[in-house]
Symmetry: C2
Subunit: 407 residues, 2 copies
Amino acid sequence: MTALHEAIAELAQFNDDPAAGGITREVYTPTYASALEWVAERMRAAGLQTRLDAVGNLFGRWEGADPDAPTVLTGSHVDTTLNAGRYDGVLGVLGAIEAVRALRAAGARPRRSIELVAWAGEEPRFVTGCVGSRAAAGELQRADLDRLRDREGTSMADALRGAGFDPDRLGDARIDPATVHALVELHIEQGIVLETHGEQVGVVTAIAAPHDFRLTFRGAATHAGATPMGLRRDALAGAAEAMVALERAARASVSGTTVGTVGVLRARPGAINVVPGEVELDVDVRDSDLAAREQVVDAIVAAAREIAGRRDLEVEVTPIVQDVPVACDPTVVAAAEAACRELGLSYRPMTSGAYHDAMIMGRRVPVGMVFVPSAGGVSHHPDEYTAPADLDRGVQVLAGTLARLAG
Amino acid sequence: MTALHEAIAELAQFNDDPAAGGITREVYTPTYASALEWVAERMRAAGLQTRLDAVGNLFGRWEGADPDAPTVLTGSHVDTTLNAGRYDGVLGVLGAIEAVRALRAAGARPRRSIELVAWAGEEPRFVTGCVGSRAAAGELQRADLDRLRDREGTSMADALRGAGFDPDRLGDARIDPATVHALVELHIEQGIVLETHGEQVGVVTAIAAPHDFRLTFRGAATHAGATPMGLRRDALAGAAEAMVALERAARASVSGTTVGTVGVLRARPGAINVVPGEVELDVDVRDSDLAAREQVVDAIVAAAREIAGRRDLEVEVTPIVQDVPVACDPTVVAAAEAACRELGLSYRPMTSGAYHDAMIMGRRVPVGMVFVPSAGGVSHHPDEYTAPADLDRGVQVLAGTLARLAG
């Protein structure tokens, strides 16, 4: 699958920060728009009819023998986090184009239409991720577009306008679940489970979901030299203690699979000679076991309140996103497993620790996912890597799965 | 001292970020240059001869009866940290102008010349503070001007050029210690010692000095969902543990007066769904007891290395600044105490927890400081406040001290 490997390298050229070493291509930027147009052109070259919906989700349709039958959707996303890798999301879009090419080359004519999709904004530019698939699932309200803001304070509504979309047409992006037979997403694992077990393909049976929230600690921004230790209200010292408690709570989870992370920390005012008066922690807790996840969240919030009380700090808890884990559809899982068996590949039924657009759509329509190994589990980083042979196998499994689902 | 209170309010108008609520006036910016020119004009209106030296220190001279006698220096700074208060530094410059006015109005004609000074860059725009007084003390080398950089990466040399100075003339800013009889600096306390004890004036007997350094933790920036807790190399989780250890080490100091602070924390890449792969902590440890301070620094570095080793992280220690505490000169202390007694004010001999330009010059010439209370000990913050009556008393004590030192 040299074509796929080359296409991934070509798409990686659409990059707002090449000097950093990785890929920066956030949704609704001019660079993203150029990248999406490049993908659309590649879809058309593969014989697909393309269209953009009201929030910038890109579709490429291969009309089936029965155009009115519910369709089979497949795809992922081509936006990235900051200084990210080149495979996350991209594989599921460019790989789907290769899968369609392979099916057409083999003379297939499926009964159901197959629709490829590049969802807009899977990565959390607006703190909440999966904004494109959320719009398609009918889970975004018009007011959310004004509320969701990126780190520069730009609202999603303004970003949409800047990219040529009309936020008031949000409702047009909704997909009627009755029109979708199934959705399958090909993705890199972003972990080391397959690598550790020496397996070639992961067939996802459940997708863990995040509960994200912000903890804001407020104390007193006083002079670092002139404020004795006993008279401080140091918001960062309190936040540090809370981070230690967070890690302990995640490790102690009853499910054994909960993960807890502080990915973003802002300490203000941010001068070496001033005790931080305000600290924000953006917290991410995930599990495929909803009850275990919520127990960990409760333990973290309780610890934060206890620490704040003891240190004479205020603490505020601001919700960011709270998603429900999704079980994959047995029919989609069976189709992917059958494809693996036919190809003679070793595969592993597994949980997805990362969330995906498939999780959002999985609340409305039957979904499944196919994973290929990530070298060292590295993702959201310039060193993210999946070997060409693994990419190739992922496309073959996706093609076999689509063929089975489309009939 | 209504004039002083009004002058402080007027100088506060020179502000690069009024929307934030406080004062932002960093050295070598156009706003700082305008503020300094306003101060120079005020010095000239008080009968002083003004000049700028090679690094932008502003002097205002009141020629004494014996112009060749070593001079009495007094002053502070008018640059600020980000979103700071209006009194820190400013009081020592504008208050000195009022002290000279009061002495002249009373018909004084001192034997020694009195030189007022507004030192450039006391606040750490270039991470290292007191760059103006360091230049005057001969403690900056030409190479330092290229090495010292602000948060945008601008070197001090480039900032000097941008403000119209020639970094190659750094040596011209050096003050021959033999030409200085004594230096006294009036300042707000920036702590709550005077307020707690209900005393009107602080006479400083020693100035604590900082040992500042950066701890950089490096782990692996992996996916927050797909990386199980047991397989993480989370740089922020390690940094959190190190911050807890830092606070414990400062509290356990044998002197009982050491303070330890992390004022700046940078977590990269800084996305909610990515485990931080690199975290920088800018650490400040201070004491007037040098040995006790160094014990605390050693304990912090040892804890950081132990934590990093246990968590499979790398840790790097980068020096920032390491100053030596200064004991104030008995003659200057005695002059300030005599001034307090003459005025019938309650005063407290005390240590300065904050460092000041007087600490830098104190390695070369006899120095002393006079403190007035800070409401709530708040400093480097928009809420920084000293009551007009306290400002007034500070100016009276300074005038009395200068009169005694200048003869």
